[in-house]
């Protein structure tokens, strides 16, 4: 059995990637399953998806804990998530990154493949949806699936849902990534620290899970604890405001769903707290004088 874990962000299509891979594997005569794991769905939030491939029927209905391959659709996830967790010693990591594999620090030295899937997606699909491109890299790096099978499944699956043209463009994105994928070995400089999580025993649980402001070894809990939950890494784009054009109408301040636009009343000015800006672009969309432009957060 070959087990794959996808790390992505809501909206990048990790789930669709896992499903498309399963479909391609079944079309090659194998058995395959694919399933997602996410919190309350939000665009930009980290999501997991899994694919299992085997020659015979797969009965296991649990998550994948010891993957043969980890696929990372967004290298900003490397800062906050230990993507190599549980990876088999001879496993492979596939990363959407502009870096070469040998320059990517995963904290362990493992077989690694990289491709700049975001650039490929923006160029071919005109959107930072990297799932099909990264599948091309998967085919190249693992040899578990033929690129032709993937192209066929992508055309079929995306075509069925979004039209023939979109299907073809996505298949082309996969093929382009397949050709551009570089295989190497990751660096092992950074120290991997298991992310601390507050996990009390039931006896220590606050009654009814009612929480007041508190501090634990794993960080803040209760009201206000989300201050530690910086989401700047979610953003593909971020807003830039042209102060000359801005009329201080405050529509952006009013519409920002995250409350990241702050009024500086004594100067009659605005500032954006990029730590909590997910780059949704609502401010730019609402601005009546086009004073806000969305620019790539990470080139």
């Amino acid at each position: 059995m070959f087990e794959v874990r996808f790390h992505g962000r809501g909206g990048q299509g990790a789930v669709m990637a896992a499903q498309t891979l399963a479909e391609a594997a079944v079309n090659e005569g194998n058995y395959a399953v694919a399933f997602p794991f996410f919190g309350a769905e939000r665009r930009g939030a980290p999501v997991l998806a899994f694919t299992r491939i085997d020659e015979k029927k797969i009965y296991s209905k649990t998550q994948v804990y010891a993957p043969d391959c980890v696929v990372v659709l967004d290298d900003s996830l490397l800062d906050t998530i230990d993507v190599v967790s549980g990876l088999k010693p001879n496993g492979t990591v596939i990363i959407n990154s502009k870096e070469k594999p040998d320059d990517i620090d995963l904290g362990v030295s493992v077989r690694t493949a990289s491709v700049n899937a975001t650039s490929i997606a923006l160029e071919i699909l005109k959107a930072p949806i990297t799932n099909t491109a990264i599948l091309g890299a998967f085919a190249k790096a693992t040899g578990i699936i033929r690129i032709e099978s993937l192209e066929a499944s992508i055309k079929q699956k995306f075509g069925e849902k979004l039209g023939e043209k979109v299907g073809e463009r996505n298949a082309f994105a996969a093929r382009t990534a397949y050709e551009k994928t570089i295989i190497g070995t990751s660096r092992s400089v950074k120290k991997l620290e298991a992310k601390k999580q507050w996990l009390p025993k039931y006896q220590d649980y606050p009654i009814g899970a009612a929480l007041i402001e508190g501090k634990t070894e794993a960080g803040l809990i209760g009201p206000g604890s989300f201050i530690e939950n910086k989401v700047s890494g979610w953003a593909t784009y971020r807003p830039l405001r042209d102060k000359e054009k801005c009329t201080m109408c405050l529509l952006c301040w009013f519409y920002c769903p995250e409350g990241t636009i702050i009024r500086i009343s004594d100067r009659g000015d605005l500032m954006t707290n990029y730590d909590y800006c997910k780059g949704c672009g609502v401010c730019a969309n609402e601005c009546p004088v086009d004073a806000i432009k969305m620019v790539r957060a990470r080139a």
């Binding site: 997602p36 296991s60 209905k61 039931y202």
Partner: protein, 390 residues
């Protein structure tokens, strides 16, 4: 034809193949894909059905019962808080003998709010008069929609049926599913032909006020329908198996039970994972097996008594709690096995959607096997629960 699809998609295709007349719908995760797929079928002209977007689940079940009383074949789907919200109308549907089929995507019933798999939503409806079944994969999800209509509409039954599929673990998982052809399903499931319907041309009364002189007999009559349902479920299973080549065993299914000394009663997708665990343990020479509880209502007491008669100990998996101690399945099983001497050990796992891993299932077998050898083992065990030891 084989397709790689989600459990929700499989359920929707099942409903389409049953040529449902009316689908009152209201969205709720993780069921929403079901009604979205059905809406697509209707929109694309693949399904001739009255698709009603309702303002709440309570209205969904009201519309479902009313449409069924008017002679329509009715399908809908819900989950968790949605099932709770229609609770009142569930109780109206069964004693009026309206054979509605409603898929439930098993999801924890808040609070605290959550979206993952737990059976405390459907277990709360166990006394509403609905037949209730739990599936372990997407193929069974599709097949059981078809079987559910046959069972529900059988003149000896005429009761609503609630097939439950594990939220996310099946609803959002893709796997290969064999899709029967329309002709095959048509020859297995004919049109719904009730004797009495609400029709102005032939006036009838259904669900009117009933004083105490009448209700007791109505309750007794519904119990009789439950008794008949057991035979009908077995018949439908064997007919389905002959036609489609997939045998699910009827009320219960078994895996490697022939010479088993220790068994685990499982439900839903945990059954599937347990098959791998049993294969491993069998390779080590342990005589273990699985009893897959498919129907929780009607409860297969007679089948269970027969199946466990040669066991040294029995484990019971529960994915929801009845707050006084054991789980609903455990309490039901112990009641069914009353007078039999073997230890019966309760295993809680997967509440709130926590992943039920093979390790946990190994532990369930280990504890049950220890009880079989006469060791003292706790009756109720909480697996992978912080603050508990197993």
């Amino acid at each position: 034809m084989k397709k790689v699809i989600t459990g929700d998609h499989a359920v929707a295709i099942g409903a389409k193949l049953c040529r449902v007349d009316v689908v009152p719908a209201y969205p709720i995760t993780p069921q929403t894909l079901i009604i979205e797929h059905i809406a697509d079928f209707v929109n694309d002209g693949e399904l001739d059905t009255k698709f009603l977007t309702m303002e709440s689940e309570h209205s969904v079940m009201s519309a479902a019962a009313a449409a069924s009383a008017a002679g329509a074949r009715v399908f809908t789907a819900t989950s968790s808080q949605g099932l709770a919200f229609m609770h009142e109308m569930l109780y109206a549907t069964a004693p009026l003998r309206l054979p509605v089929v409603m898929a439930n995507a098993s999801r924890t019933l808040g609070g605290p709010p959550g979206i993952w798999c737990e059976y405390n939503d459907s277990m709360g409806a166990r006394d509403s008069g609905w037949l209730q079944l739990y599936v372990e994969d997407n193929q069974e999800a599709l097949d059981m929609i078809i079987q559910s209509f046959r069972i529900a509409e059988d003149k000896r039954v005429l009761l609503p049926v609630m097939p439950c599929l594990d939220g996310f673990v099946l609803t959002h998982t893709v796997e290969p599913v064999e899709i029967p052809t329309q002709e095959e399903v048509d020859s297995f499931l004919g049109p719904y032909e009730p004797d009495i319907i609400l029709d102005p041309a032939r006036p009838a009364m259904i669900g009117t006020f009933m004083p105490a002189e009448y209700i007791m007999e109505l309750r007794r009559q519904t119990v009789a329908a439950f008794d008949s349902a057991k035979d009908v479920i077995r018949e439908v299973n064997s007919e389905f198996s002959k036609k489609f080549g997939r045998d699910y065993g009827g009320l219960v299914d078994t895996y490697r039970m022939d010479d088993a000394k220790v068994a685990l009663i499982t439900m839903g997708t945990v059954t599937s994972t347990s098959r791998e665990v049993v294969d491993d343990l069998r390779q080590k020479g342990e005589k273990v097996g699985i009893i897959k509880l498919r129907f929780f209502r009607p409860f297969p007491s007679e089948d269970l008594r027969k199946l466990v008669s040669n066991l040294d100990a029995l484990g019971v998996f529960d994915r929801s709690i009845s707050y006084h101690g054991g789980g609903p399945v455990y309490n039901e099983v112990r009641s069914a096995l009353f007078g039999m001497k073997m230890p019966v050990i309760n295993h809680f796992a997967g509440l709130g959607g926590r992943d039920v891993t093979e390790d946990q299932i190994f532990k369930m077998f280990e504890l049950t096997s220890r009880a079989a050898k006469g060791e003292k083992v706790k009756e109720v065990n909480w697996h992978n629960t912080r603050g508990e030891t197993v």
